[in-house]
Assembly symmetry: C2
Homo-oligomer: 345 residues x 2
């Protein structure tokens, strides 16, 4: 039998806690036998939720009691240092202490990012651990790297992001030789801000990635590249605008569909097909956003994640663990470092 | 009678030239009597197009012969310097020499931006002229400032963008006390990259704008602010991603609508209502993107603009001229400069 993977799920994080995280965790262990889920949070609340699922395999669901909750609005560094008995801090500590393989949370992005770096710690050789969500595209998904909390990156950070992203897309999503592009304000090589201009030749010189050049934001949704490299401020704009334009456009379309009797009848007929189609444009089917380059696995799911996203994030962790992504990333980046050091001697 | 406003329209620029620019110009002069349009480009080509409209008022349509065409792919600075007999250079020179009030082009964005700065010239006091397109939102439109070619802006540039954008939205779109926000990676004041952190308190201290703080990219499409201030690299990402997500999503929806017989029948019923609704999410109804802070008016329309956008851009120029926006901008920015100089004494 395959080795059991232990995943801590933050039962108190996100808009739909504790209902959806607990439901997602239960669904994960019911669907696969190689998973043990540890629900972190207030044990009485979790026990009450678990009571809804009398048939779930109790030997593969544990509770990690944590009395405190970190709210989304709290300053992350302060919250992580202060609330030692929160689900986020205890979950991350379990990963640090090798009591669990991974931590999944829909809670405060800032706290998960800060906690991941402070408590779990960076792998040797990793300069900055990026947060890398998947974006839905016309062809599937692309990895947007970085959307973390640390902005104003250096060129060497972006080069590491490109390498980590390539390993992730190849090993977790099975994309052979993933196409890597850097976000730019034009397709030509001379375009870009100071950071991009400095990074471009470094990426071009990388032998271990399939660098295809610049990507304009217009071409992101079409699936032009598999790994989309950018600095976190720009990544944040891309990620959030993607959601914002989608939400507003779909709302406009819904308004249009109910604006007349004729369109209302039509809406009833198109609804199932439209729903199926929009589902293909939904990245949550693939799980959450991993925080790459740490000594353990941390995955951030959307603040409004429902059970299916949590479940997929747990599955993602299993694959992550089985493929040894963290080890591969650490090995790759250290190898680069050694080569660089040798070249300098 | 109102003073006649003279607008040069680039008849050779954009994907649909010469057909759509000429059509838009003709429609503009037929709809309003206070406009004279000068079509810049190869006169034989223009004359042939104009022959399609025997009833147009010939006394208010002139031709400015220009034998050369600047292609979109050409390096802008080189093209503007080399092709002195192009429609872009000749149109801009007409504005510079006060032979025309404004220039409208769907051609090379780079050439229009570079040419606008070099040939028409900055107004006194303007540090950097921004390109400011209108974005469609759930409530109407917002001005995105800057999307120009000069990236890596300084805080003082962003402050000027905020002021120019406020004047534009108030005077041209009639929005009283327009809400100004700076693009940021979070709503809290301590968020941001180095540029945003440095700019935020400067905007907060501005007495002549209605600064409402940070805007996250997610909130742009909902119409949370009227003037959206950012550095041009980020502006470019926002503008192009807006288009890209919209195109991909609408394509997905169309695929959904024709995926089954049932949905095809429904599609016929919803089509008119959907079309009307999506039209409200189309900024081209408001014209093109002005290049603000110049000594004359320059408006850039989309590369794929059709007649209605050209026509609206021409109308936009009339309003621009009648409200004396350029003079207002120059006055405001110089007043700031004088106040600053006095304070320093």
């Amino acid at each position: 039998m395959a080795e059991i993977v232990k995943v801590v799920v933050d039962a108190m994080g996100g808009d739909n806690a504790p209902v959806e995280p607990v439901k997602g965790a239960v669904e994960a262990v019911m669907e696969r036998e190689d998973i043990l889920v540890i629900l972190a949070g207030q044990s009485d609340v979790i026990r009450k939720e678990l009571a809804k699922y009398p048939n779930c395999p109790k030997d593969r669901i544990q509770i990690l009691n944590a009395s405190e909750i970190i709210e989304t609005a709290e300053p992350p560094v302060f919250a992580v240092k202060k609330k030692k008995d929160s689900s986020i801090v205890k979950g991350l500590m379990a990963v640090r202490n090798k009591e669990a393989d991974a931590f999944v949370s829909s809670g405060s992005t800032g706290a998960v990012l800060v906690g991941g770096q402070i408590l779990v710690g960076r792998s040797k050789g990793v300069e900055r651990p990026p947060l890398a969500p998947l974006l839905p595209t016309a062809k599937g998904v692309s990895l947007l790297i970085d959307c973390g909390a640390n902005v104003d990156a250096r060129p060497s950070h972006l080069v590491q992001f490109a390498k980590m992203g390539s390993i992730y897309m190849e090993d977790i999503l099975g994309i052979k030789n993933p196409r890597v592009a850097i976000v730019n304000n034009g397709a030509e090589e001379e375009k870009g801000n100071a950071l991009v201009k400095e990074t471009f030749p470094l990426l071009k010189a990388c032998k271990d990635i399939n660098f295809i050049g610049s990507i304009e934001a217009r071409d992101i949704p079409s699936g032009y590249a598999d790994v989309i490299v950018c600095e976190a401020f720009v990544g944040n704009v891309i990620l959030k605008l993607y959601e914002g334009v989608g939400i507003t456009l779909i709302r406009k379309i819904k308004e249009g569909l109910v604006s007349s009797l004729r369109s209302k009848i039509g809406a009833l007929l198109v609804k199932p097909a439209l729903k199926d189609m929009l589902k293909t444009f939904d990245a949550s089917e693939h799980g959450g956003a991993p925080l790459l380059g740490l000594k353990g696995l941390v995955v951030k799911t959307h603040g409004n994640a429902v059970a299916v996203e949590i479940k997929n994030a747990v599955f993602q962790c299993v694959q992550f663990k089985q493929n040894g992504i963290n080890e591969r990333i650490a090995k790759q980046l250290n190898q680069d470092k050694e080569e660089k050091a040798e070249a300098e001697v």
